[in-house]
Amino acid sequence: MLRNLAQLPRYRGLIQSLVARELKARYRGSVLGFFWSFINPLMLLLIYTFVFKYVMPAAVKGADPYPLFMFCGILPWTWFASSLMESSGVLISGGNLIKKVLFPAEVLPIVTVTANMIHFFLALPILVVFLIWFRAPLTIPELLCFPLVVAVQFVFTLGCALILSALTVHFRDIRDILSNVLTLWFFATPIIYPYMNAPDVAKRFLNWNPFAHLVISYQEILFFPGPFGHWKWLVALGIGSVGLFLFGYFIFDRLRDSFAEEV
């Protein structure tokens, strides 16, 4: 396993060009092209803002301006959720490569997560516009933590993606289970509501949700005034994510030989 892991940097060029292909191919043939990377999150934002500003404003007390608050959580979530959805099917749809070409299979989920990260980056300019528009209370030390949060999320997502992609080869039904689990997970994460509004019972559960800590970190850095108090959680999550990644890679490596026969 470790020997294979050490090979990973050698596939840099391959990953790069596959990510580029992924991005190019996605919006090829659509009129607005890569502007969809902006439009999609804006649409989501519009819908949730309408619901929580005008339909049920009580739930989001203390999260003003709401569009900015929600944006801090929804962008990382989109990256995470679409990475998992896509990586669960990525080995099967890339079956041709695995069966017919000598191809390092782990490249496929890595490409999926990376491509979705690029989409996340592409949507960041809108976030910047929002930050300036709403005069968000930003400080330099806090902003320096931002890349760290992104890095933790990347490793965490990668770990999940490796496990999911490997297991889905053997259990195709993971894909269907996953979409439901992700819906539940979305509402169990303080994205559309602030953490402090959750009842105490729920808070205890929220603390067990790793993604909640990522979202809270984003929100503390970009939205809430005051120092970044959540860093301890983030560091713990970072260590846990590395562990998850290694575990995911271990599972992937164990099942690797079965891919060419099962996909």
Partner: protein
């Protein structure tokens, strides 16, 4: 010198899961703690069984064998795509596998971008591809389409581009799996030229193919796989010869079995359902199948009054033994056994040879050859001898019949006997006249290195 490919005592066992497993969910697997057990196979299939082979660097090995004999599995093992269940595979040098051309092309993006990505997948660096790009496009004959998305390509274009990329990887070991069927004649020649160039440059080639001709012409050595085992290896002429003999033997068996079935069903007095019983001739009370109105359109079957019965028809080879596969130019004897319970005086025997398209290649009968029946009673035997079966390769069927001079059928066997004619020369038509080429003046030919007919 170290060998380029070393396969020692390799077996590959594929797992076949039972039906149940396919529908098992993760949840049920977890609940019954059977995750590990479910990943274990219920049934296995041995694709390769204790295969050992060595290819010295710079040699070309042709792998032949029937469908399902494990050829492609062997290639995938050498390519490293799958791992052997037992045994070891060692390959020295960069490998390029032409197993599926254009695997990994993305339909939405242009041919140009796909060439780059495919090249990187096959182990080239960006700079190497840039340097070879024009050559690749030139080779694939795709100049004007290279910037169009791959989904707009025809399947031939797709294959050509895939082939061009794979061949320009500049491997030390080239693995080829039956991919020469891509593109037109011209492109196939180009591919062969490219292979020849590889050979000249001392590269190792492992070629899996059904084209025996190619193996004989092109390979230094041949390996014959049969049901996952090595049946023979060594000199291509010898191995291909042995393989052809084996294929003929099993075809012989198939035809013999088919023959037996056809005769059985014909003898079983089957009345063709298309013709109602009332259309039977009243003066033909023991007819099994009514005589068709148009003889030349009739399907296979058997009909007649059975006043004379054809009890057995056998095809015999030059050695006098029953045979179903012949080489063009071989001797063929058709032995017909007859029985007439009551003596008859008015009878004609006929025979017809039809090819697979139903074209009558030859037909004759005793009356046409000025033989007039005198007497026939009890058991009798007739042999129709063809000195040299000068037919082109193909499957042929025989008609054998006994009837009155006016056509009233005693026993007519329509297309019930099948035989195959094999030929190394792929000439066309029906009949191969005995022929020779002679030349004079300023014209000369060189004998191809390939097999002689």
């Amino acid at each position: 010198m170290t060998p380029a490919i070393e396969v020692s005592r390799v077996s590959k066992i594929y797992r076949r899961y039972s039906h149940r497993k396919q529908f098992a969910t993760l949840k049920s697997a977890l609940l019954s703690r059977s995750l590990v057990r479910n990943l274990r196979p219920d049934e296995t299939f041995t694709a390769l069984n204790d295969v050992t082979l060595t290819v010295p660097a710079g040699r070309t090995l042709g792998v032949i064998g029937r469908n399902g004999s494990g050829k492609s599995t062997l290639l995938k093992l050498v390519a490293g795509i799958t791992k052997p269940t037992t045994g070891t595979v060692k390959v020295n040098g960069r490998v390029s596998a032409l197993i599926e051309l254009g695997a990994g092309f993305h339909p939405e993006i242009s041919g140009r971008e796909n060439v780059f990505i495919n090249g990187i997948m096959l182990g080239l660096s960006k700079r190497e591809i840039t340097r070879r790009f024009d050559e690749i496009v030139e080779f694939a004959e795709m100049k004007e389409f290279i910037d169009a998305p791959v989904k707009t390509y025809s399947s031939g274009m797709y294959m050509r581009l895939g082939f061009a990329v794979a061949i320009h990887v500049d491997p030390d070991v080239l693995l080829v799996d039956e991919v020469l069927a891509v593109g037109d004649e011209g492109f196939t020649h180009k591919c062969l030229d490219k292979f020849a160039e590889f050979k000249r440059r001392g590269k190792t080639i492992l070629l899996v193919t059904h084209s025996l001709n190619l193996v004989q012409r092109f390979c230094d050595e041949a390996l014959w796989l049969d049901a996952g085992r090595v049946r023979g290896s060594g000199d291509p002429q010898r191995i291909v010869g042995a393989y052809i003999t084996d294929v003929e033997a099993s075809e012989e068996q198939h035809l013999a079995a088919a023959d037996a079935r056809a005769q059985e069903s014909a003898a079983g007095s089957i009345v063709s359902p298309a013709e109602p019983a009332s259309t039977r001739l009243p003066d033909n009370p023991v007819a099994t199948t009514p005589a068709p109105t148009d003889m030349f359109r009739a399907a296979e079957g058997r009909w007649g009054s059975r006043e004379v019965e054809i009890t057995e028809v056998q095809l015999l080879g030059a050695d006098g033994q029953p045979a179903h596969v012949f080489r063009s130019g071989d001797r063929l004897d058709v032995r017909i056994r007859l029985r007439a319970p009551l003596p008859v005086v008015d009878f004609v025997m006929g025979i017809g040879i039809f090819n697979a398209e139903g074209v009558c290649c030859y037909g004759t009968n005793t009356s046409l050859e000025d033989l007039t029946g005198e007497s026939l009673s009890g058991d009798a035997e007739a042999v129709f001898s063809i000195e040299a079966l000068d037919l082109v390769e193909g499957t042929y069927k025989l008609d054998v019949g006994v009837h009155k001079a006016d056509g009233y059928p005693y026993d007519y066997h329509r297309l019930l006997y099948t035989f195959r004619v094999k030929s190394q020369t792929k000439d066309v038509g029906i009949y191969r006249p005995r022929h020779a080429w002679t030349f004079g003046g300023g014209i000369s030919f060189r004998k191809a290195a390939g097999p002689q007919p």
